[in-house]
């Protein structure tokens, strides 16, 4: 039977919804127990959020000022120490988990299954390769600890309603000082978080400039949606890189995705293929985005988007 430890992702004292998505992944292989590890300088509030996820057995906390920022080199030895007795260690396949999990796997001398997209069994998974152009079935040995990152767009967040016990863990692992946090430049936004939003409006190269992106923001605000962008729009400097949706940016699964002025390069499509309904607005009727869009509308975005915003009244 599987005993799963999930490493919590959090920022500014709040748990990231990716953690609850990992819980759903663990439930899919009928884990005997699912525990969550919170490494932080002040873990209590985060642990309380984690304890409220339905299906969680217990929440383990390690309070240490060295854990104020998620540095993989600092977190990894602690995860290794906490992982004793567990059959699986899971982390989300976000930049947090991608940075941390392989470091843990290497310290344990075991392989890692990246981007778990579907569970076939406790040691059998499907995952995408070649930017999602092929899906492989991977079998991992049941004799070793399984380290996995969970493709968050493939699993819904486990619901609240749990009341797991919270236990403080004391870990004596020696922590390196060779890696130091300097700063995090965060895009300031009152809009919903791109990775967990139910609705996302994204703009592409067709938007034409940073100023023109206001058209996208206005529509997003009318819908209460998060704002994303294609790689082309980010590379052109219209918006910061943390808004990039796609293979090398964020992989998302909103209920409603509006792609505006986005042609639909394969690497962008990889990031949105789990979306519920994809709406595309583009002036080029031959754009590849229309091959996968559920609803397509051909025309000038600068005419259509304000019309759409008005029609949503």
């Amino acid at each position: 039977m599987s005993k799963v430890l999930i490493v919590a992702e959090h920022l500014n004292g709040k748990l990231n919804s990716s953690t609850a998505r990992c819980v759903t992944c663990a439930k899919a292989f009928h884990a005997e127990s699912i525990d969550i590890l919170v490494l932080a300088d002040a873990p209590d509030a985060i642990a309380a959020e984690a304890a409220a996820i339905a299906g969680v057995g217990k929440v383990l906390t390690v309070a240490n000022t060295a854990n104020a920022h998620a540095l993989a080199a600092v977190y990894a030895p602690q995860v290794v120490a906490a992982a004793a007795g567990y059959s699986h260690v899971l982390a989300p396949s976000t930049t947090f988990g991608k940075d941390l999990a392989p470091r843990v796997a290497a310290l344990l001398g075991v392989a890692q299954v990246s981007d778990i997209a579907e569970v076939l069994g406790a040691h059998s998974f499907k995952r995408p390769i070649y930017a999602g152009n092929a899906i492989i079935t991977v079998e991992a040995p049941a004799t070793a600890t399984l380290i996995g990152t969970v493709r968050t767009a493939s699993f819904a967040a486990a619901e609240a309603g749990g009341s797991a016990a919270v236990e403080a863990l004391s870990i004596s692992a020696e922590l390196p000082t060779h890696t130091r946090f300097v700063e995090l430049q965060q895009g300031k936004s009152d809009r919903p978080d791109l990775q967990s939003a139910g609705r996302v409006v994204s703009g592409g190269r067709g938007v034409g400039s940073a100023e023109n992106f206001s058209v996208i923001y206005k529509l997003a605000d009318k819908l209460g949606a998060a704002v994303g962008a294609s790689r082309a729009a980010v590379d052109a400097g219209y918006v910061p890189s943390d808004m990039q949706v796609g293979q090398t940016g964020k992989i998302i699964s909103p209920e409603l995705y509006l792609a505006i002025g986005i042609s639909g390069a394969i690497q962008h499509l990889t990031g949105i293929k789990d979306a519920g309904t994809i709406v595309a607005i583009n002036k080029d009727g031959e754009a590849p985005i229309f091959e996968i869009a559920d609803i397509g509308l051909v025309g000038d975005l600068f005419t259509l988007v304000p019309q759409l915003e008005a029609a949503l009244g």
């Binding site: 993989a72 080199a73 079935t137 991977v138 040995p141 390196p176 890189s241």
Partner: protein
């Protein structure tokens, strides 16, 4: 300063990947092979550090079959001083790759190792982090800016929340993200020059690397397709449809 660059050969990013009808793999026969784009960015960064006078020696290394020599010559033509080819006919997994690169670190004693954040074939995104762990040194993954000063580096990383800057002591492992730089084009005279640059071949077996290849891929499949939807003629029709679906 000496920089070791990981330089993997993969199916070219422009090739349309096709799964074999029997599900035994993807079609790689007769398709164009190129350097992993993230590894080209890694090499470019190393060359720029050399041009700034920070690095003196840039070594490109690959792990792959005998015909990877031509691939390494491309890295030499781009500007690397030397190349190391760890020869194996087997496809290896990230833990084995990291253990192999650690052997090269022990041999070469680099001050910095730069790798792509992931290879665009298996998309694992593991080798750099594993190497840093085995080497017991810092890692700075997903780098979009690298500044070296003395024995430390300040690296800006593209993370989900924005841009994170960390400071790391050298030696260390850095993995590259897309926006770190734009790799140069190779010029013809450099291709000629590359032919006489040193290229060392080392059989993988001779390095005494413990295999970490414990994952088995049992099936390959094409991804499920999203079916083509409907086209609407105007905004009113779009809104009506969204309302029917309960989405607005």
């Amino acid at each position: 300063m000496k920089i070791l660059v990981g330089y993997k050969r993969v199916v070219d990013y422009n090739v349309r990947i096709q799964v074999k009808p029997d599900g035994s793999g993807v079609v790689t026969e007769g398709v164009k092979l190129s350097a992993n784009p993230f590894d080209e960015i890694a090499l470019e960064e190393a060359l720029r550090l050399r041009e700034k006078g920070i690095a003196t020696d840039v070594v490109v290394a690959t792990i792959g079959p005998a015909d990877c020599q031509a691939h390494l010559r491309n890295g030499l033509a781009m500007g690397a001083n030397r190349a190391i080819h760890v020869v194996t006919s087997e496809a290896i997994q990230p833990l084995t790759a990291a253990r192999t690169l650690l052997k090269l670190i022990e041999k070469e004693q680099p001050d910095l190792v730069i790798l792509g954040k992931q290879a665009i074939d298996d998309d694992c995104n593991q080798t750099g982090q594993m190497l840093a762990a085995l080497w017991n040194r810092p890692q700075a993954t997903f780098a979009s800016k690298v500044e070296i000063s003395g024995s430390t580096a300040k690296v800006t990383r593209e993370v989900d929340a924005g841009l994170e800057t960390i400071e790391i002591d050298l030696p260390a492992v850095i993995t590259t993200d897309l926006r770190l730089n734009e790799p140069r084009f190779t010029k013809l005279p450099d291709i000629m020059k590359a032919k006489s640059k040193p290229l060392e071949s080392i059989p993988l077996e001779s390095l005494g690397v413990e295999s970490g290849d414990s994952l088995k891929t049992t099936a390959y499949a094409a991804p499920p397709k999203r079916s083509k939807g409907v086209m609407v003629k105007d905004v009113a029709e779009l809104v009506a449809l969204l309302k029917t679906k309960g989405l607005v």
